[in-house]
């Protein structure tokens, strides 16, 4: 059964890709090892830490808890696609300016979760920020600076 790869077509950050995927490969493994985008990180590999967060068909998911073969026809966005070229997205800018990261392992996940939050609630309360980011863990920064970064991003994007 090791050769039961299936050809799967989907788009990543707007680019169509076609990959031969074994059912046992998680979406995270496919994105990192087959599509060569290493922004999404493997932290816990069981859905707790959020460092593997990507957007599929407009909603964030833990890519470690999904299979690559499920992605036929899906639209995937990763941290690499958030801002064009070398530009920074206002959320990235806000994390940088407010000390919202240290080692950066958790940061792609936090930023994509923030993006998802601000699309649903453009001006979230602190409580809402903490609720919507509960699936992202950071072992370095401390959550206050992350909350402040999200608040800064929200006000930058709504002004």
């Amino acid at each position: 059964m090791m050769s039961n790869r299936k050809l799967v077509q989907f788009t990543v950050n707007g680019n169509p890709v076609e990959v031969a995927i074994a059912p046992r490969q998680t979406l995270l493994e496919v994105i990192r090892d087959e599509v060569d985008l290493t922004g999404a990180k493997e932290g816990c590999s069981n859905g707790n830490c959020g460092s593997c967060t990507v957007e599929v068909d407009g909603v964030t998911i833990n890519s470690c808890c999904a299979l690559g073969v499920e992605m036929e026809g899906r639209t995937i966005n990763t941290i690499e696609g958030l801002a064009p070229g070398l530009d920074l997205h206002p959320i990235q800018q806000a994390f940088m300016e407010n000390g919202g990261l240290q080692c950066g392992i958790c940061t792609p996940g936090f930023i994509l979760s923030t993006d998802h939050l601000l699309k649903m609630i453009p001006n979230p309360s602190e409580e809402e920020i903490r609720l919507y980011l509960a699936g992202n863990l950071c072992r370095c920064t401390g959550y206050d600076k992350i909350v402040r970064s999200v608040q800064a991003a929200a006000s930058a994007m709504s002004s």
Binding site: G50, T60, A66, V69
Partner: protein, 292 residues
């Protein structure tokens, strides 16, 4: 991860055929938030995963034409959580859907998976039980409908046959003057599994007495259980603080808890009393009756 095969049927007939042919060697794949890790750590060893998310019959989320709701087994919990009529008519279910994991989990996880995983702690299960939800089960021998309360055999184990699958949940129309509530205790604010969970659905009559009530408990027995003695205490009575307290005391009779990392059996018995009392009071509060 060990390897397996994968198919994604695009109709219920195809799905039924796939489950039928595979017998016990296949499992359903819905949001994958339980099964993928269970395969990784070797707790489950299916040879085939059958994806339910391209089966239109498992993706319905709509009025049943009689004031009730049909929720496909493969619909993500975020859609259940945000659905206007779930929020209005079945608040216990909306609450529970919004408690499972975090946002990323809710965007993938499903009712089919929460029930299919058959954990005694499944948060959506007490709400489905107290709302009198049924589940449509399909298999090679045909289709049948069972109360959700009847499908649990033990931890991780359903009463349905290995060649059968869950298609959709049916939640009957809410009756007048009825509300529902779900509360769980976890040691943190988010992202943990219930130490105890309590769902209540209650109907009051014109005189303010309890016309009907249903209470179900999570994480206190090998399967989610109904707290029938607590229900009996409340039915026909005028609600008071003392009565809510007594219902809590009697809820304990339904429990047969274990001690584990999340809490001792004694702690779970105590939590059952407290949370049942609070859930009854909160449900009454939603119906305009204050017990404070």
């Amino acid at each position: 991860m060990r390897n397996f095969d994968y198919v994604a049927p695009t109709s219920l007939a195809e799905a039924v055929q796939a489950f039928g042919q595979a017998g016990g060697r296949a499992r359903a794949l819905a949001g994958g938030t339980d099964i993928i890790d269970q395969i990784r750590i070797g707790r489950r060893t299916p040879e085939l995963l059958i994806d339910t998310k391209r089966v239109p019959e498992m993706m319905v989320l709509e009025d049943d034409g009689a004031g009730g709701l049909r929720i496909g087994a493969g619909v993500p919990l975020s859609r259940v959580r945000d659905h206007a009529s779930v929020r209005a008519a079945y608040p216990a279910l909306a609450t529970a859907a919004g408690l499972v994991g975090a946002i990323q989990i809710q965007n993938r996880a499903t009712l089919g998976g929460n029930v299919g995983n058959a954990a005694p702690s499944g948060d959506t299960i007490p709400p489905l039980m107290v709302l009198d939800a049924t589940v449509v089960i399909a298999g090679p021998r045909g289709t049948r409908e069972e109360p959700v309360a009847n499908v649990f055999a033990g931890p991780g184990q359903l009463t349905i046959q290995p060649d059968e699958c869950l298609v959709e949940f049916r939640v009957p129309a809410p009756r007048a003057n009825t509300s529902s509530y779900y509360v769980r205790f976890i040691p943190r604010a988010e992202m943990d599994i219930a130490v105890v969970g309590v769902g209540v659905s209650m109907m009051l009559n014109g005189g303010g007495q309890v016309e009907d009530v249903s209470i179900a408990l999570a994480s206190v027995a090998p399967t989610p259980v109904a707290a029938t003695a607590a229900q009996d205490v409340l039915r026909g009575q005028t609600l008071t603080r003392e009565l809510a307290r007594e219902a809590g005391e009697r809820a304990e009779e339904a429990t047969s808890p274990i001690s584990d990392v999340r809490g001792s059996a004694d702690y779970r018995r105590e939590l059952t009393k407290v949370l049942t009392r609070r859930a009854v009071a909160a449900c009454a509060g939603q119906l305009g009756v204050s017990l404070s």
